[in-house]
Every structure is written in C-alpha cells, then in structure tokens.
Amino acid sequence: MTTAEKRIGAVANYVDERIGAAGWVKKSLNKVFPDHWSFMLGEVCMYSFIILLLSGTFLTLWFDPSQRDVIYEGVYAPLKGLKMSAAYASTLDISFEVRGGLLMRQIHHWAANIFMAAIVAHLLRVFFTGAFRKPREFNWILGIILLTLGFVEGLFGYSLPDDLLSGTGLRITSAIIQAIPLVGTYISFFLFGGAFPGTGFIPRIFTLHVLLIPGAFLAVITIHVMLVWYQKHTQFPGPGKTEKNVVGHPILPVYMAKAGGFFFIVFGVIAFLSAVASINPIWLYGPYTPGQISAGSQPDWYMGWLDGLVRMAPPLETHALGHTISWNILIPALIVPGIVFTGMALYPFIESWITGDKREHHLLDRPRNVPNRTALGVMSVTFVMVALINGGNDIFATNFDLSINEIMWFSRISIFLLPPLSFVITKRLCLSLQRADRELVLHGKETGRLVRMPNGEFVEVHEPISAQKRWILTSHEQPQALELPDIDSRGVKRPGGVKNKIRARLSKAHAVAVPKVSAQELKEIEGH
C-alpha cells in the first residue's frame, strides 16, 4: 500500500466508523447511467443553476436593493448628475467600476436565459419520449414546479436593476395584479408598498430573488435529482435493453468525468457568450420613470409568449354594478397560462387514464410510435410559438418592414388555426414514419446500386438492416384501444356513460398505428 492510499484509508476509516458510509456509498458508486445526448439537457439546467448561484452571490456583494433616490456621480458620463434609485446606480457601478462586474452581470443574465431554455428543452425531451410515465409522475410535477419558479425568479431578477425597461415590466406586472377581481387592487398596494411604483418593491423582490426562491429551487432540485438517482434513469430502447435493466456507464470514473467536465463546458460557453455578446445593457435604457418608455420594449424570451398573448387579446372589459373586469388582461395573463400549466402538470395522469396503462415504464418511447402524444406536444409548442412571435410583433414589424396590425391579425387567427393543424400534420407524419420503419424492416435499406435483370428490367438492390436496428424498429408495444362497452356482461347499463364514451374515443385515437412487423412476417422474409 502506498502512503497516499494509507492516508485516504485512515480518513475513510474514521468516517465509516462514525456514520457507516461505505455500504451505501459503494452502492451509489456502482450506479449506472445510460448515455444519450438528450439526457444532458437536464444537466445543463442544473449546471446553469449552480452558475446562477455563484454569479448571483458575486453581484449581491455590490448591489444595493433600494429605491431611495440618489444622484449618479459614477464614471458613466451620459447619466452623470441624474436622479435615480440606488438599485440602478449600484447596477451601473457593478457594470463600470467593479472589475469583472459587467462580466458577472452578463454571466448571470445569460445563465438565466440558458437555464430557462434548458428547462424547456428538457421538459420537451421528457414529454416526447414518455419519460413522465409511471413511476416518474412525481418528478414530472416537480419539474413543472421548477419551470414555474423559473418564470417568477427570472421576472424578479431582471426587474431588480430598476432601469426603464424593467420598470415598464413591473408596470405591466402591477396592472395584471390589479386586474384580479375583488382583491387585485389591495394585493398590488401591499406588494408595492403603496401606489405603483411605490418604494418597497425592489427590496422585497430582492429578498425573494436571492433567498426564498433560490431556497425553494434548491429543495425541489435536490428531490428531483434524488428521485432520478433512486428510480434510476430511463433508457432508449435498443438491443439488450429491457424494462428490467439499465445499461450504461458506472458513475466512477466515466460518468463522473463526463458530467463534471460538462459542467465546466457549460460554464465556459456561458462565459464566452458573456464576453462577446452584450445582453441587457441597462445603461442605455436610463433610470425608471413611469412617464417614459422606450420603443421595442421586450421582456426576456421566456416571458415573450405571455406578452404575445396579452398583445393579441381582444379589447374586452365588463363594466357593471360599479365594477370593472378586464378580460383583456385576465384571459391572456392569468387564465390561459393557468390552463396551460395545470394541463401540463396533469398530463401523465390524463394519458394513463386514456390508455388504462398502470405499469412501470423505464424504456422510452420513440415519439413516432405514440402519434397522439407527439401531436399534442407539437400542438402545444405551436401555440406557444405563435404567441411568442406575436410577443415580438413590433420587432418583426420594424426589421422586416411589415405591418404590425397584420402580424397581430395573423397571430389572432393562427393561435386558433395552427395548433389543431399542426396536431393533424404531426399525427400523419408519425404514422408515415411508422410506415417507413415497417418498409425498412421488411425490405431493407436502399443501396443506390442498380442492377439490370436478364429481362432488361432495372431494380435497385436493397440491403437487409442489422439485427440490432431491426430490434429497435420492432421491439415497441402497440397499445390497443380500451373497450368500454355501455352495457356490461350482464346486460346492465354501466354508470358514467358519457365519461366512458369520451375515454373510449380518446383511447381509440391514442391507439392509431401502422401495424409493426411481427416475428412471423420476419420469418417469412428470411424464407425467401
């Protein structure tokens, strides 16, 4: 034994005699992680969160979260002598007088944008591959909670500098709060500490932004990751992979080195972006004052779809009995997002109700093999994309010389038209891809080699695909529609007729598929 080994052994012995860690640590170190590029998306989320914690802590060392008036006397000449909040002035100081301060601000903001993008990409991966199915429904819901927290944390974060752009965002936030019937006005006055913009909001959201919400994040992320650990990762179907096993690399050393290395790559890429691509140059916007605004006011990208929905809302208000209800704000800013998020959270349960499938699933679906789910996902993405495009309608109008009114009308019509259309197209595409898979298994792949037959006919030579590939294309299950007859076996009408009918309809739609190649058919091909 070398001296190094002896020393480490002594430490390990000391710890193990006190907490008996060897047993479970050993088990954990043998944990296997399957490999696929899309499994890195969740890692990007976690790494950018760590980068947010690090860069955010740096920023708090100089940031002054106060709306107290100060006269700016810093180095940035265009704003010298102007009255502004201490929050804005200290953000200018971080940008211009702290070495590396601007870099950290940029890293923090870039990391936030990438954090949200990675969450969305991770969510889509989990959705389209069916990774949310039993036993992982809890983790799906935790993910939705993290996404929701991300929206709030991001909004608070970019509001803190108290510049003209972020103040405008808060103005809109306060209008949304005010629109809540009955209690909205009171909630707004309490949150802002008086009439907008008040004097209390920035310090209050600072506490939420740096303490409460990150704490919640940390707790939920910990449970999220521990559940992945405990339940073991899902894997894509393939040769040797079953519902009962997990094939991949053990945590030591390969996975650890790759995952650890990947953290530094994510950090490096964010640092590079921050060095060369300026984001949120608050010194150009000036301090916030409610009487002014800059054209082309845009929120961060993940808020854009909500803003787009608000923009396209019809001018509807109810005036009755001395009260006002602003449907033009309530519907796009609260009701529709509420439905979207609730629907997302409930989806695993809805799907399992439709299919009647209560088994555990550890092998992922290829999206084409579940056309209904895939189509629903694309439909939702289309909805958000139309809203997002409308959120940037002013930017599109100026850059592409279009009429803003036409873009708005395009969006108003498209938001109803394109999602169902994309559902139908996606479903057809999935079925076509299934058909292509079937062709490939039955007739092999085209080689591009033409052969002239004795009778003069030209044919292309097809090459049979490998056994591994054939397994990937044929190993999936094809669910069958639930049979829910109105009348049970004894001729008695079953209760819940309408509910059963809906379920049967949905189940039938969910089970639509091109029959996959059976073993029988394969044997037949091999025969000739």
Binding site: A175, T185, K232, G268, A275, H323, I404, W471, T474, E477
Partner: protein
Amino acid sequence: MSTVSNEIEATEDPGTAPHVLRAADLNPRSEKRAEQQVAILFVLSGIGSLLLIYSYVFIDKNLFIFIPVMGNQNASQLGLGLGMAMSLFFLGMAAIHWAKTLMPETEVINHRHEFRSSNEDREEFVATVKGGVAGVQLGRRKLIKGSLAGAMGLFALPPVLLLRDLGPLPKKQLETTSWKAGTRLVTDPGNRPILASDLEVGAVVQTLPAVAEGSERLLSDIAKDPVLLIRLRPEDFQLTPEKLAMTHEGIIAFSKICSHMGCAVALYEQQTKHLLCPCHQSTFDVTRGAKVIFGPAARPLPQLDITVDNEGYLIARAPFSEPVGPSFWERNSQ
C-alpha cells in the same frame, strides 16, 4: 384491466452489441497521443486562467479597443471573459476527452427492481400507522378534536394578518391624480409653463401638472399625471360637443398612461394622428378623442379639460373626470 398487449409474436432481442475497442485500447501510440491531447487541453485551461489574471491586474477597466465585427469593446471585460471562458471550457474538454479516450468504457448492466414494497412491509406499515393513530384517540376525544380544529383555524390567521402593514389601503389613490382646476401644464422635462400661442399645428408636448417651487414629484404621481398635448387643426376633430368643449383652439390633452396596462403611450404618428402604446400596440385615434382603433386596450385615453389662464398659459379647467391608467376592480366605468 390489462389493456396493452402485444398480440403479435415479439421479435427476438439480439442482445447488447459486442464491445468495440477504441484506438487507444489497441495501439500504445494512440494511447500516448490521447494522453498528450488531454495534457494540451489542461495547459490551454491554465493559459486561460493566466489571461484572466493578466486582464484583471494589467488592463485598465476603462480601456476600449476596436474589434472588427464587434465594434468598440471594453478590453478589460473582454480579456476577463475570454480568459474565464478558456480556463473553464478547456478544463471541461480535457476531462471529457480523458474519459472518452482513456478511461475504461465498457458498458455495465444494472438491474431494476419494482418500487412497490412487499406485502408484508405494507401490512406492517398499515398496522404501525393504525396503532399510532389509535393512540391519539381523536375519534373518542370529541372535545380535543373540536378545540384542535378551532385552534388550527385561528393559528392560520396571524401569518396573514402580520403582512397587513406591507402597504397602505388603496383608498381613492387610483381614482385621483394631481390635476386640479386651474393647475398649469408644464413641460416634462423642463417644468416650463406653456403658452397656447407657442404651440403650432402638429406640435406634441409631454406635460405634467405644475408643482410648487422646490417641491419634489413622487414617482407614484409621475405614474398617473403625465398628459400629452397635441395641436391639430380644429376641423380635424370628430368629437362630441362635450369633448370638443374640453379642447382649446385645436389643442387636445390626453392622459399619457395607457388605459390597458399603464405604459406610457409615447408614439405619435403625425400623418395618421394615431397614438401607439409601445408595450402592447394599443392604438388610439386622436381626432376621435383617443378612441381605441386597434389592440387590446378597452377604453379611450382619458381626456383632460383644458383652457388658458389670463396670461395665456395652458391650465386644466377641471381634474380628470375618470381614473387614468389600467382598470381595477373598484373602477366605476359606467
């Protein structure tokens, strides 16, 4: 209800593909080369750290340099950023290259187990919980049950109550502005009173109510008070007689605070005489009393009744007759 089935006979799993050895596993020269590559990546990371330190210590934080495509860049910020990016990125690359080329990469198979606990475990669990609950005797102790519920209910109130002092009650704050009968309109910025005769047709001025010399405006007032003055030819107006009476020789005054979500309605298009809110593109027609002609706003911008005082300066003849800004529950919009 077993509903998912593979009625057709399943194809056969060919099993995990045979392990393919990498170049470094077979050839000592490849192995040596991979080792050198990893070392080079680590060295590049070190150079990045040195660049960061150099930039921090030696580059003036206010030095700007011109870089093609990127334009003028702060050299310190760029040096720090690129140094940091290099140091981090190559550290990661080195670790991954090392793992991919040199570390043992045979795939391992773990087995999964059903998560459901065994029946014995479940029964023991239920028995334990039942025993515990029975020990509490909540079913028998009616008095405790009732008082517990009452105490818990009351217990929930203080946390909500304690937040009451977060802010004042709204009172009439959303209904009122600083405008009073006789308040002069002053330019913003500048605080100068405005002679009606100085405004030419087509002129647009942002104004605020005059305040006493030396007194400060609150931001919460600036959130309600801004007024846009626009002078048109009187014949351009298509207004009701009451609204026309609120103008002064072609000068019309609107609240600048959008009736949708309270942004400043700052874009005025001379030719069409439309006001556009940059936040959500609500469009108001000035000639028709800021009627909404496009976008999500549901109400016209409130119009301020203006006239001139005996020195010829523009003043408000009366306060706004309705609340300005976004809607709220208590707003009486009849």
